[in-house]
């Protein structure tokens, strides 16, 4: 797998929360090259199992990796005089929507534009106001009757943005949150193919994270792993945002700690990074991490959970920016962590004995 090419493919695919099918197919294609078993659960989570190398009869412990494949998006709510009104799916800053190109997934895919009014017609007061949702329209350039035949209420809409390579190994695009994690999981599986690991690895591309960590909730229950790691994106350093709120893009994986993270999972990840000289960044998270880790941690009787974040600028816009180097490092860190898992660590975590 080529990290850049796979990220481009995933980023340009469409998968608004609840409508992740086409992204799932791309992930399936990649994961299945390294997995022993593949399945899709009731909610639509893609689950790849790569078995550990213990004797067949011996029950094995397991780790679950979770990265979500859904993206924030829009939904048609009304057809009005040849234009579309819409609602948001997930957390949007309405200010980034003006003049964006979109794809309306109607009877066929229709390229569209989120309307703007030309500056010539605007009053000074109007230019001082953030355009509210009830004054935003999507235009697919079709007359009213034609539009009615191709689009209906409930059709999903994705932002359109081609993957862009910036300088210094940075890339920009949409839905890196959290397709970048899907890339990291594939990279981890790829590394593991040439490594020895005794624990089973479940790599899970989850659904509906952006609307409430829903896929992680059910997939963690179904898998019932011994431990879990969520892979998500973390706010990257950018002009105008205090350093306390960010981690450095290109600075390596951000390893979370705080109430959502098991302290021994954190320290083991840090030790692994140190041992293999992978640059990393401690990432203090005082409460809700806003990631799949939040749901994983309280599944069943509770699961020791960690969070590894990919530094990313401009989250929830169509120009999310990250460093390809960080993706490579996350994949490597995860694989080395997994290869290091043993019964001694299980004891340290206080995991119950493996049921026989």
């Amino acid at each position: 797998m080529q990290i850049k090419e796979f990220l481009k493919k995933l980023s340009e695919a469409s998968g608004v929360s609840g409508y992740e099918a086409s992204v799932r197919e791309l992930a399936r294609e990649e994961f299945s090259q390294y997995a022993d078993e593949m399945r899709v659960d009731t909610m639509g989570n893609l689950i790849a199992l790569k078995c550990g190398e213990a004797a067949q009869e011996v029950p094995r412990r397991s780790i679950m990796l979770a990265g979500h494949m859904d993206e924030i998006g829009l939904l048609v709510t009304k057809l009005e005089k040849g234009f579309l009104r819409f609602a948001t799916v997930g957390g949007f800053d309405l200010r980034v929507l003006l003049g964006q190109e979109v794809v309306v997934h109607g009877r066929r895919e229709l390229p569209g534009i989120i309307s703007t009014r030309p500056p010539h017609v605007l009053t000074t007061e109007e230019r001082e106001q953030v355009v509210p949702l009830d004054k935003l329209f999507i235009d697919v350039g079709l007359p009213e009757d034609e539009l009615g035949k191709l689009v209906r209420v409930g059709d999903v809409i994705t932002l359109h943005r081609q993957f862009t390579e910036l300088t210094a190994n940075l890339v920009a695009g949409k839905a890196f949150d959290d397709r970048a994690a899907v890339v990291c999981m594939a990279s981890c599986l790829q590394h593991l193919a040439s490594m020895k690991h005794t624990w089973d690895v479940y790599a899970v591309a989850t659904v509906q994270e952006e609307v409430g960590l829903k896929g992680a909730l059910t997939s963690t229950f179904g898998i019932a792993p011994d431990i879990g790691i969520a892979i998500d994106v973390g706010h990257g350093n950018m002009l105008g945002v205090p350093e306390v709120d960010t981690v450095n893009v290109g600075g390596g994986p951000a390893i979370g700690f705080g109430p959502n993270i098991h302290p021994l999972m954190y320290s083991r990840l840090v030790e692994t990074a140190k041992a293999y000289e992978i640059p990393y960044q401690p990432d203090p998270i005082p409460g809700h991490s806003g990631t799949d880790a939040w749901a994983m941690q309280v599944t069943r009787e509770g699961i020791p959970t960690a969070l590894v974040s990919i530094p990313l600028r401009y989250m929830h816009t169509s120009v999310e920016t990250l460093s390809l180097k960080d993706l490579e490092r996350v994949g490597r860190l995860l694989s080395l962590f997994i290869a290091s898992l043993n019964e001694a660590f299980a004891k340290e975590l206080g995991l119950s004995n493996i049921p026989t």
């Binding site: 003006l98 500056p119 081609q162």
Partner: protein
């Protein structure tokens, strides 16, 4: 399609060279003479077939609104300002290309997660924005860009199709006018046809002013890609123009009161040939005609435009039906312009 190449070409006001070259290649075999003047206008002459002939100037501007790099921060981000009229609000979360080297960059914004609820209701000013090219230091950025570089939106042209034959792309204001003017040069005319592809319209009709002086035309037309504002609205004031309703004829805008005889010629021609047309709602916008009609002792001038939604933003939309009808309307009207009585 030539409109695609024109739309995707880089030509912010003051930096129209790439667009000019594209147009020159398209017209050089269609005209008798051409030259580029001191400001960068491309002026082409197609000589008339009749003995006594008028000089008719038809202008379309090559420049587009865009950005200029003003300052490089020590962290490698680029501060910029608009060139021409751009609403600050359309800039966030867009991709741009910087200079003729087309260095890609993105205009980022603080993520919603880190915004106070009040900040979400505040318009972000261009002064607060920056372009991220991936550089992490001033030195790294300076290897790719320099202060004073122009940046344009990176928008690819594509067909949307449907009954209106809609297309989308950037800079239809005024590459649509350029496309119409190039098409008009395919024909022969009895009068001397001066095609002026002008510069710097968006920063004050600068190119048209000197082009009109040097041509000294008897009659002039400006071709535009003009404002549509035909979205559903609470108060149903008339839109400026409507997509798909045909070429827009200007009665009056901020810069010119169109010559009534030319307006009548356009309207009569449209009616005679069954070409759909509409009037642009008076009062809004300025065009090259604003500079041309005041050249020397004055020039009777009119404006015909292809309606285009979302001009002065990263992506616009127009109907090829409207564009074709603009060509037809101009062609048929020009055929009669020699007969027009222009004395008062």
């Amino acid at each position: 399609m030539l409109l695609k190449e024109l739309s995707e070409a880089f030509g912010v006001s003051g930096h129209e060279g790439a667009v000019r070259q594209l147009i020159l290649d398209a017209i050089k075999d269609l005209v008798d003479e051409h030259h580029v003047d001191a400001l960068g206008n491309l002026i082409a002459l197609k000589k008339g077939s009749s003995k006594t002939h008028r000089k008719v100037m038809v202008a379309a501007h090559m420049d587009e609104v865009g950005l200029m790099i003003m300052y490089i921060e020590k962290e490698g981000s680029l501060r910029f300002r608009p060139v021409g009229g751009i609403d600050d609000r359309v800039l966030l979360s867009k991709k741009v290309l910087i200079s003729d080297n087309k260095v890609p960059g993105v205009i980022g914004v603080k993520p919603i997660h880190l915004l106070e609820p009040k900040a979400r209701q505040q318009v972000m000013r261009v002064q607060e924005m920056s372009i991220d090219i991936g550089a992490s230091s001033k030195e790294e950025a300076e290897r790719l860009v320099k202060i004073g570089d122009y940046a344009a939106f990176d928008t690819s042209f594509s067909q949307v199709s449907g009954e209106w034959r809609t297309v989308k792309g950037k800079a239809f204001d005024d590459r649509a006018g350029c496309a119409v003017l190039i098409e008009l040069l395919q024909e022969s005319y009895p009068f001397d046809f001066y095609a002026a592809f002008t510069v710097q319209e968006e920063v004050g009709l600068r190119g048209a002013r000197v082009a009109a002086y040097s041509i000294a035309p008897d009659v002039a037309f400006a071709l535009e890609g003009t404002i549509c504002d035909d979205l559903p609205k609470k108060r149903d004031a008339s839109p400026t123009t409507a997509l798909g309703a045909g070429p827009a004829i200007t009665i009056m805008d901020r810069s010119v009161i169109a010559d009534r005889r030319l307006v009548d010629l356009l309207v009569d021609t449209a009616q005679k040939h069954g070409i759909p047309y509409q009037f642009k709602q008076p009062g809004l916008g300025g065009t090259d005609a604003g500079a041309i009609h005041l050249s020397r002792e004055g020039v009777p001038s009119a404006v015909v435009a292809v309606p285009s939604r979302y001009i002065h933003s990263p992506v616009c939309l127009l109907s090829l039906n409207d564009l074709d009808n603009t060509v037809r309307l101009m062609r048929e009207s020009l055929a009669k312009v020699q007969e027009l009585n222009l004395s008062h």
